[in-house]
Amino acid sequence: MSSQRLPSGGRINRGRPLEFFFNGRRYEGFEGDTLASGLLANGIRLFGRSFKYHRPRGLFGSGSEEPNALVQLGEGASTIPNLKATQVELFDGLSARTVVGWPSLEIDLYAINNRIGRLLPAGFYYKTFMRPRFLWDWYEGRIRHAAGLGFAPTEPDSARYDKRNAHCDVLVVGAGPTGLMAALVAGRSGARVIVADEQAEMGGDLLSSTQHVSGACPWMFLDNLVKELSLMDNVMLLPRSTVSGYYDYNFLVINQRRTDHQAGIGDIVSRERNWRVRARQVVLATGAIERGLVFADNDRPGIMLSSAVRTYINRYAVRPGRTGAVFTNNDSAYQTAVEMHGAGMEVKGVIDVRQRPSQERLLQMDTLGIPVYSGHGVGGTRSGRQGLRAVELCRLSADGRDVLTQKGSLDCQVLAISGGWNPAIHLHCQSGGRPKYDDDQACFVPDKSVQSERSAGSALGIFQLGNCLSDGVDAGVHAVRETGYACAHIDIPYASDRTGSAIEPMWNVPDGVLPGRGGKKFVDYQNDTTAADIALAAREGYRSIEHVKRYTALGFGTDQGKTGNINGLAILAQHLGQSIPATGTTTFRPNYTPVTFGAIAGRELGTVFFDPVRKTPMHDWHVAHGAVFEDVGQWKRPWYYPKGGETMESAVRRECLATRKSIGLLDASTLGKIEVRGRDSAEFLNRIYTNAWSKLEINRCRYGLMLGEDGMVMDDGVSSRLGDNHYYMTTTTGGAAHVLGWLERWHQTEWPELEVFFTSVTDRWAVASIAGPNSRSLLDRLCSDIDLSAGAFPFMSLREGSVAGISARLFRISFSGELAFEINVSADDGVALWELLMEAGGEYGITPYGTETMHVLRAEKGYVIVGQDTDGSVTPADLGMDWIVSKTKDFIGKRSLARSDMLRDSRKQLVGLVTEQPETVLPEGTQLVNEPSTDYPVPMTGHVTSSYYSSTLGHSIALALIKGGHTRMGASVYAPTLDGQCIKAIISSPVFYDPENKLHKT
């Protein structure tokens, strides 16, 4: 493997040699190399295998369009699959391997697929593997093993990712000659500019060019330009930054890669950053992508895009081979012949499908001694051990459709091909714009702008450097004017472009053999889609380009078909006998190039940022006292407080009994709290709740149910009247945000005439709820300014005053059936209050309890929890709560309650259940049947919604929704559990404790 590095030139730093590894072998390259150029410099031509036929493949392109050279970088948790070697910047110690090839790149057993390729036409898997049916799993396993590209890491990623939101006047996408000129105009004019380019260096095609600009060599011109831009405070240059998506309202996402090109930087800075940009104007200077030519065996290592050959020679000082040839249908590739010649390659000829290339080009080639085969095509290729060895020449008919004669072959290691240029219209199309076919240039160009964007330069179909420079200026001027800045003066640089003859489309190079025979003509290299596949799809009736894409996998690869799609659709158009514009393109979807999941997720991960954890003011106390937590909505709530190795069961029993016998203490801060104010507050609540609110006295509380429009219970809570036009609503913990949105929605969209305002005050208050027969005695000690007696402070009322000197609002409400007080204090005072209560309550054995005990206590009382005992299909009547539904006023859901199905006797209704064995606790969620059976389907009669062991009652209790349950008291039902038991239970009232409702009113 000889070095193919040219003795001088290139944008590489020869003073900085780098060591790297490919498939375990060691190589050397230079700073400034990509993995692709580094390997090419070491004489490597085999870069991978194709996806389906496992044919040997080399480099095809030099950037993000590369379909073949996919590599897996690194090992372990930090490995990265499916990188394009052409985009991987070399660093010291880099280690990469190819992704396709089993067991290895050189010896690939799946290469058998190439031999039996005739059995594997497009969509062959739809036609077979169907019988015998049971073998499909096995077939599928084989398909999966063969498919896929790289390996996903199997360990968590330690890298960080972040996002930034940015606004700018002008976003310039692409820092080639066009984009840089647009940025210069905008920058000089004072606009806020962001320039994003996917490459490591700004410059685009100038980096690979030898064409002088305004009399200077391109790199000097470029250096001056970039230097001026980088000194402008109002211009931000983002290299290694791909605009991956263009969304509505000029919102664009830029994916910036920050660390992968540097060894050892590790996780100090974020690995990637997604910029979320709102741009007032966008200049799409995204350039153009060269397309290949479709001819027999056009995939040998050594057959490369003409532009890529130029790039490797000029930018990386790498000679892709000793001998070369050019195959083209347009003028641009002639320059490649010149560059190959200049790099010391023996250029065997330029094969031009056009009958009459321009005289100027012919003269130029003649001067260099390079023969031009006009009116010729490549009919096939031959390969040696390391890729291309020779190409077969044929003389084409005048219309280019047939081969007239075979004309021998040219021995060459490199074939630079050019089938023309496709403007990169991806972002234009993502923005909502349409593609328009340009017959003269044989490519799609952007049609009218839909958002505030303008394509410029070669992205617009302008392929001459001088014209690109001036169009870049025009685009900059346009953007500056649209954003209201005064346009700065600028001298338009000039470049002497050659005139030439027009491109002649050549979508499918004839090879003189019958259809379906001869060498494979690849259209999409990565997915091994051939011209014959497209013909087959058309023959089988898959006529839409979208069908052909899906049937043949054309353009589905990680390169998204950047080099092959247009050839593919043109071939389809030929087969269908219709025009290219009538055939149309497939939809251009984000992303332009693949984007790392981590970058899209950003920092919104983990316990802190994924969905911010909400903690009550007393949270740290709970932690310090050993609480086990439960997630309720976004909140962490103490579930139970195990003491000294207690199980949950015994902790809950202890907490329940302590509360029933003396005092329990619950952190109720998480309940949703909404202030409702305004002249029409009472009227609004009347419409939202099923019961009436106008007559509620100040300082009184009332329980309310909210229904959806469908009449089903949606949320519940106690709301209180604080003043004439001032209510204080509480909601369930998990439903708070939804309820606030619900109130706003009805107010804003249906009843804007009502004067009412809502403010979430959930976090404003810390709430300690004390429950139990001794709670009044305890509070008496701490509270001197409120008369706590039952007469002065009755059940369902509130008082303001102080508790142990802390300003507080006290509510006499109970969710446990015990005498209870909910003490609301400023969130800042929550911990102090809690600790004072614990201290003062010591002699009563005050016991903090969690949500599990809360659930048991309320279930003993038959109180429902919305979302647990209801599921969106339960009406107030189903819960036995008709008493709370007004017969006179209107409210949301009322009309739905009058529908016939709401009156059905067999609706599922809330009842209690008691098991035959007192210790047996029914599993929550279990379905209930009237008769146990194994004759499926077994008719179900209901399900268990809540179920606990009640230490107070000495037996298990459950709540259930059972068909017609209200009239089935005493009847038996059976719970067939998932672990195979069948538990018998008796239907009872859901109120197990204090059915006379005396205790909490004492």
Partner: protein, 417 residues
Amino acid sequence: MKNKYSIFSLVRNAVSYHQNWSQAWRSPDPKPAYDAIIVGGGGHGLATAYYLAKEHSITRVAVLEKGWIGGGNTGRNTTIVRSNYLWDEAAHLYEKSLKLWEGLSQELNYNVMFSQRGVMNLGHTLQDMRDIVRRSSANQLNGIDSEVLTPAQIKNIEPTINISQQARYPILGASFQPRGGVARHDAVAWGFARGADRYGVDVIQNCEVTGIRQQNGSVTGVDTTRGFIAAPKVGVVAAGHSSLLADYAGLRMPIESHPLQALVSEPLKPVLNTVIMSNAVHGYISQSDKGELVVGAGIDSYIGYGQRGSYSVIEGNIAAIVELFPNFSRVKMLRQWGGIVDVCPDACPIISLTPVKGLYFNCGWGTGGFKATPGSGWVFAYTIARNTPHGLNAAFDLNRFYTGALIDEHGAAGVAH
């Protein structure tokens, strides 16, 4: 049968260099009149036409598609198939569909690559676990395979999933339906199209319905971009555009159309063994046979007919997936897209007669229509042929929005609506 697909026909055609394959379906011009017209050439519409011809011998049928068949939600979904629905009515309908899936490749002689790799619904809260037990218990009593897994059992099936109890929403368990899985969505449309075509059904693409004509309360045909086509029976299966078509007939559907987005990663070697869905963290994921991770989430909350959604939804979706699989952080997203889903108030479909005689609607599948494709077509064909619903879809009539007999499947729909 012409060109029956098999390994033998593949070999035979290889010998003739694949020049002799016949069309999978013809592309005929519309005739002036048919016995029945199906509006919408997605999986459901094509399946309806197929079963109309096969089960009910109604073969003078046209399927009218405004674009290309399978180009709507059939080609835009995440291909999940399962039947673990909570309520009897839904469970029986989806189970019928799953049973049809199990023989579909053979039935159609077109490999739809139905892969029964199992579907897992994760639970992250105590309430999730109650709901999982409830659903699993209901499934078992309905004769549908379902089991409840512990975190360790989940890890055993999906070795790279994060079951750490330190996670933001730790995985507490899952329900698992082993017979669930994924299928190749395009192939479903193509297979049904080919099957229907074989019975003489005309599959007509690029033919948009612009009006529904009726006389004396009965449908007489449809206006299209290719002229009027007469038929005494018209079945509309147009997903996100159902409410527009209903409007042509003067009907209002209780449907909201929302964008629903999905995305795929680059192809990877096998790394996921099953389908994982999580309602609590909002995401679901599976791996296609080609190796791409196929990812979806909940709907965009605004309504509209544009087949594109908001980027923030994608961000939340990916974050959810990386929460579940921290190892996928370095995997790259290749492509994203959006479809328009037709959402009913109870997250269940409408498969129903309408007040217009001879006009039938099949819509409201929301985010979960793909799995129902064969079953939906099967019952809709029955409904059209006999002018009365089959027992399996009787509960899914339009009338339920008047009586209130809704079938609330928000929980089982797998994603939050």
